[in-house]
């Protein structure tokens, strides 16, 4: 398993294919990352690398953080993410982790934090039908309706789909096609939508379910 990359969502647009089709793409900027820490089976019980990418004003890092980056002799990075790899000793501290492991046509899994929708009703959150618009319905058009039976079972079952907070949670979308990669501009274009808002942090891994 090769390491994934850290990306920042930049927005959506279209790519015109050679046959004239418009392909919807999300443009993701993936600043070149550097290996900050290696975790080994002996030390940590599992093998992974920690990658730092992106920039932040140096003054915003505290001493502990600076020390952590200094250990690997890399400049402090805005984002730190860990990627499981088969053998972390194959990586050097400070080694660059860039886009070049991806190419057009690959499948990737993209993880991000979805857009927060606040407190949402049953129709938006779970796709409930709501109730009818007329025939005497009053003030109940978007309400949930019945949530259970009667004396038996005498309770509302746990996990019942009800209104509540929607979005702003970690979401992974699997098997997204890579449409184009531009290593010199640190850009990768993914077909369709990815979770989260623009400038949001994304983690791009090789697809688990597709080769």
């Amino acid at each position: 398993m090769s390491a994934g990359i850290i990306g920042i969502k930049r927005g959506m647009t279209q790519i015109v294919s050679e046959t004239g089709e418009m392909i919807p793409v999300t443009v993701v900027e993936a600043p070149t990352g550097r290996v900050v820490q290696r975790k080994t089976v002996e030390n940590d019980g599992y093998s992974s690398i920690q990658v730092g990418a992106g920039e932040k004003r140096v003054g915003l890092f505290n001493k502990a953080e600076k020390g952590h980056f200094n250990k690997a002799k890399v400049s402090p990075a805005r984002f730190l993410k860990e990627f499981r790899v088969e053998d972390s000793s194959a990586y050097e501290l400070g080694q660059e982790v860039a886009l070049d492991s991806f190419s057009a046509g690959d499948y990737v899994d993209v993880t991000g934090v979805s857009k927060g929708k606040g407190f949402a009703g049953g129709m938006k959150r779970w796709g409930f039908k709501g109730q009818r618009a007329s025939h005497g319905a009053e003030k109940v058009h978007r309400k949930v309706g019945s949530i259970g039976n009667a004396t038996y079972p005498g309770k509302v079952f746990k996990g019942k789909k009800m209104p509540g907070h929607l979005g702003a949670e970690r979401v992974t979308i699997q098997n997204i096609t890579v449409v184009a990669v531009r290593p010199e501009e640190n850009l990768i274009m993914l077909k369709g939508a990815v979770p989260g808002h623009e400038k949001g942090l994304l983690i791009i891994n090789k697809a688990v379910k597709k080769g």
Partner: protein, 115 residues
């Protein structure tokens, strides 16, 4: 420049002629038949221009053996070889959907005088 704008700009054609709804145009469209590619000319009246930037498109209407035919093209599509503007029409709205209800003489559009 914004990354998205830059990517769109790269793909946009810079030789698109100026035309509006009401103009008569000849669209030279590439048609792929199996392996072969040939150019098919679609001539008619522009009844709508829609969208901006890379996603801009337009619809051309013509009468073909008594039946109205409309085709929508992507303005920046590589499938369009070129667009010839034949005449410039004088119309008072941007969407000429009323042409769909008219045939023959009633569906004429006055030509705009340009001197």
């Amino acid at each position: 420049m914004n990354i998205i704008d830059k990517i769109e700009q790269e793909q946009m054609k810079d030789n698109v002629p100026d035309f509006k709804a009401g103009d008569k145009v000849k669209v030279h469209a590439k048609v792929r038949e199996g392996e072969k590619e040939r150019i098919q000319v679609f001539e008619g009246t522009v009844i709508r221009r829609k969208g901006g930037g890379l996603s801009a498109n337009f619809t051309v209407r013509k009468m073909a053996s008594g039946v109205g035919v409309e085709r929508t093209f992507q303005l920046h599509s590589p499938n369009i070889d070129k667009i010839d503007v034949m005449t410039i029409g004088r119309v008072r709205r941007s969407r000429l959907y009323y042409l769909r209800d008219r045939t023959g003489k009633a569906a004429r559009i006055k030509e705009k005088r340009t001197w």
